[in-house]
């Protein structure tokens, strides 16, 4: 009988492995609605070599592995569906390199967004990365692996589009370098182009094809000032047009569209938050005028207008990450929040918000409809977000039903479910082009012949 615990302890040190009930309980659940499932072990490696040894052991003994960062996807992606080993990556917390001229950073697999943010502010104040709204403990790798979005997504795409290279431990234990540094270990400026882009084998696969132990991430200019403009409209059907006009200016950082019934000042309107940046007042003033002019027709028609935001109300709107996002979990005084955040074409926004209100009414739910514009408006992330009381099983059940309906609606409308739950992954698989599905299956089998990596996910 192989003593897995001791073998893991030999790799990472006894104080970094646990099979205690408490760790198994906690790492077997997340703050969303997915039912829990405990792992057998939780292990915290500090180096790529330790990760490699763990993977080799697991591959040999056919033990499932789930790599975990912050665990804040909220859709159960790091709940170990078949038990096994959860690898908490957060001890791999070094920021390895910042290249100012090529504007990229290389981080280990467990670096948190919070620490990267702090590091850049302190040491490289002219550079920034795309900070997501998920709390500061979320990891750069975890967020990229699920195609997360952040403050720079409107300008530059998904946070995964900003990846500039990977170091990956394959399920069979090999260590691979992906991107420009596959040929020159010094340079992490590209994740694939102009060669076959192998990063696509790992981004979006939820750890089913390998464990990312290092990641290169593009950095962008960090201007000295940021400000927020708020445009309100009560006409849902105008929102796609407003976004088109705004993105046409090429003057904006983030564009977030919010609709929610609370606090009372938000009721009855759609709030479009427009963040602008600049190195001077003149630059910001110029951008403000361009943005105003872009929406002038709508303003004149009285169908929408800019709200003057008093100085004391700006900080929470500009905050990165926004702590207001997690406060949503306490609206029902119950610590619960989950959302389905499909990626949809801009023009579908009115249908999605109508659907959300229908679900809210049908299931009697507290909600927030938040949407973020992606890559200049080529698509947007629309969040069917619901908050629940963890001590109210009935409410949790109603939200599960609402989210299921939201997922079905998304699929009907041709949207793409973002960070889909296992159930949603099945919906996608059912509808996917069969030949495309075959490729996915082949890739998984090739890379993970023993099916140890986060099993249950993307099972074609």
């Amino acid at each position: 009988m192989i003593d897995i615990y001791n073998l893991l302890a030999e790799i990472v040190g006894e104080q970094h492995v646990s099979n205690h009930k408490e760790e198994r309980y906690f790492y077997g659940c997340d703050p969303g609605l997915t039912p829990p499932h405990e792992p057998d072990y939780v292990v915290m490696p500090e180096t790529t070599e330790e990760v490699q040894q763990i993977v080799k052991l697991a591959n040999k003994e056919k033990i499932p592995i789930v790599p975990k960062g912050g665990g804040l996807a909220l859709t159960g992606l790091v709940i170990p569906q078949k038990g096994g080993i959860v690898i908490d990556m957060k001890r791999m917390g070094k920021i390895l390199e910042v290249n100012e001229k090529s504007r990229y950073v290389v981080v280990e697999g467990g670096v948190t967004h919070g620490m990267l943010q702090n590091y850049l502010k302190k040491h490289h104040p002219k550079l920034r990365h795309s900070i997501p709204d998920s709390p500061a403990i979320s990891t750069v790798v975890g967020n990229a692996v699920i195609h997360g979005q952040g403050r720079l997504t409107q300008q530059y795409g998904f946070n995964s589009d900003m990846v500039s290279g990977l170091e990956v431990v394959l399920p069979t234990g090999e260590i691979c370098r992906i991107g420009s540094h596959s040929i020159s270990s010094q340079h992490w400026f590209s994740k694939g182009a102009p060669w076959p882009d192998l990063s696509g084998l790992f981004l979006g696969w939820f750890g089913t094809t390998g464990i990312i132990t290092k990641l290169g991430l593009r950095l962008y200019p960090c201007k000295k000032m940021r400000d927020v403009m708020v445009f309100l409209t009560d006409k849902i059907e105008l929102v796609p047009d407003i976004i088109l006009k705004l993105t046409h200016t090429e003057m904006t950082e983030d564009i977030v569209v919010n609709e929610q019934p609370l606090p009372p000042r938000m009721k009855g309107n759609i709030y479009i938050l427009i963040i602008i940046t600049g190195d001077s007042d003149e630059e910001l003033d110029f951008k403000r005028k361009i943005i105003w002019d872009a929406l002038w027709d709508i303003f004149e028609s009285r169908d929408g207008g800019f709200l003057s935001v008093p100085a004391d109300m700006k900080p929470p709107l500009l905050e990165m990450p926004s702590r207001d996002v997690v406060r949503f979990a306490d609206v029902r005084k119950g610590g619960g929040f989950e959302y389905s955040g499909p990626i949809i074409p801009l023009e579908k926004y009115p249908e999605f918000i109508t659907k959300q209100k229908e679900l809210v009414s049908k299931y009697n739910l507290s909600y927030s409809a938040t949407s973020r514009v992606i890559a200049g408006g080529h698509c947007m992330m629309y969040a069917f977000a619901f908050t629940f009381n963890r001590a109210d099983p009935d409410e949790m059940d109603r939200i599960r039903k609402a989210l299921r309906e939201a997922a079905e609606f998304t699929v009907e409308q041709g949207g793409m479910m973002w960070k889909p739950t296992i159930e949603e992954q099945k919906m996608i698989i059912e509808r996917m082009d069969p030949n495309t599905l075959k490729i996915m299956k082949k890739i998984k089998e090739l890379l993970d012949p023993n099916g140890i990596m986060n099993p249950g996910n993307w099972e074609a």
Partner: protein, 385 residues
């Protein structure tokens, strides 16, 4: 405080409790030490909830997780939710509940701490006279302006005693009328309260309040922020406490402003470690700094994590005795002295005997003894006279 059993499920495990305001490093001492998510506040709250629901049973490991919290209140400071101010109170209430419901199945070191306080009047296993350190410092007489409350570490710990003597010297030189309780002094009960032993805390508090009343004590000045916290915030819940309490740094600050103490020029580089029970618990950040800055020639260098972001030395909630966070390079006290050293300071100034003892030990283990001296504020001032 709200009933924790009805509120504790509100934790969203967002993880802000692990950080300081600027996310520069992990700021939860037990999380920094152990790194399993279970050792952060959100881990604790979720496990307590699971225990309440019967989803997990009591175990030694659960007890260890629960008692490794130093109750430093970084989580209270950082939690974005409306219930943030209650978080540590919930942990303390859960400790209390578990003590009762699990028939006292708590970590042996914690049991030992509480038993020693009960039987010996201090958690340090000291049986000697409490005022053996006092070297002629007078006993409190009715009519004295201040009762100087020294506490267990001040009475028995080598470094604590030096602090006590140093504070006493400064008060004398400033002409303050004060006295100590000597052997009649009882443990303040702050750690007992935080460890969840409500009944023992009640006894200690009542005894102290009664003693002060008998002697007509109107003003108490404490050596330790722990005692300051207990007397300011928890004693009034037990009984009407008819005295004002201040911490010695507040008193020193006043004396310096009135020129009753006049430090001479002293060209030193000092960094100040905010103790949790003065800082986050009672929002006293300015006076200790003002005391230090009153020394001509001093250069006060701030650690990156200061004031409400101060990183706990790891001694709170009895850990200066139970040492549940020791034994690693990532023990909070070792992390903190490394941080202090990086400022370029020669002196790490403290205002708490618990911080003193934790950081003194850490400096030794980190081989920084010749490079970084740990001194309490009164010693820094006294050496400048």
């Amino acid at each position: 405080m709200t009933d924790y059993t009805k509120q504790i499920h509100r934790c969203f495990r967002c993880g802000y409790c692990k950080f300081p305001s600027d996310y520069s490093d992990f700021n939860c001492p037990s999380y920094a030490r152990f790194r399993f998510d279970t050792y952060s506040t959100s881990g604790r709250l979720w496990l307590i909830y699971a225990w309440l629901k019967g989803e997990i049973e009591w175990s030694e490991h659960l007890a260890e997780i629960l008692y490794s919290c130093t109750t430093c209140k970084n989580c209270v400071e950082q939690c974005p939710m409306k219930f943030s101010s209650d978080i540590v109170d919930w942990i303390v209430a859960a400790r209390s509940d578990m003590m009762e419901k699990e028939k006292g199945r708590i970590p042996p070191r914690v049991t030992s701490f509480l038993e020693d306080v009960y039987r010996l009047g201090n958690p340090l296993k000291e049986r000697g006279k409490r005022d053996a350190w006092a070297n002629g410092i007078k006993r409190y007489q009715p009519g004295d302006e201040y009762l100087f409350y020294v506490g267990c570490l001040g009475s028995y710990d080598e470094f604590g005693r030096r602090m006590a003597r140093s504070v006493a010297r400064l008060l004398s030189e400033a002409g303050i009328s004060f006295g100590i309780l000597g052997n009649d002094e009882n443990c303040c009960g702050n750690e007992v309260y935080l460890l969840g032993e409500k009944e023992l805390f009640q006894v200690l508090a009542e005894r102290n309040i009664q003693k002060f009343k008998e002697l007509g004590v109107k003003k108490v000045v404490t050596l330790s922020p722990h005692a300051y916290n207990a007397m300011k915030n928890n004693y009034p819940l037990v009984s009407n406490a008819y005295f004002e309490v201040s911490h010695y740094t507040q008193l020193l600050c006043g004396l310096l402003r009135e020129n009753k103490i006049r430090p001479s020029r002293n060209k030193i580089k000092v960094t100040y470690h905010d103790p949790c029970f003065l800082g986050r618990y009672n929002k006293i950040y300015g006076e200790p700094r003002e005391v230090l800055q009153s020394i001509p020639g001093i250069e006060l260098l701030e650690m990156e994590r200061n004031r409400e972001n101060s990183f706990c030395c790891g001694g709170g909630s009895g850990n200066f005795v139970t040492d549940l966070l020791g034994g690693s390079e990532e023990s909070p006290s070792r992390i903190r002295v490394r941080e202090a050293y990086e400022t370029g300071a020669d002196i790490l100034a403290v205002a708490c005997p618990s911080c003193m003892t934790m950081l003194q030990d850490a400096v030794k283990v980190e081989n920084l003894e010749s490079k970084l001296a740990v001194k309490d504020i009164s010693q820094v001032v006294a050496e400048s006279l």
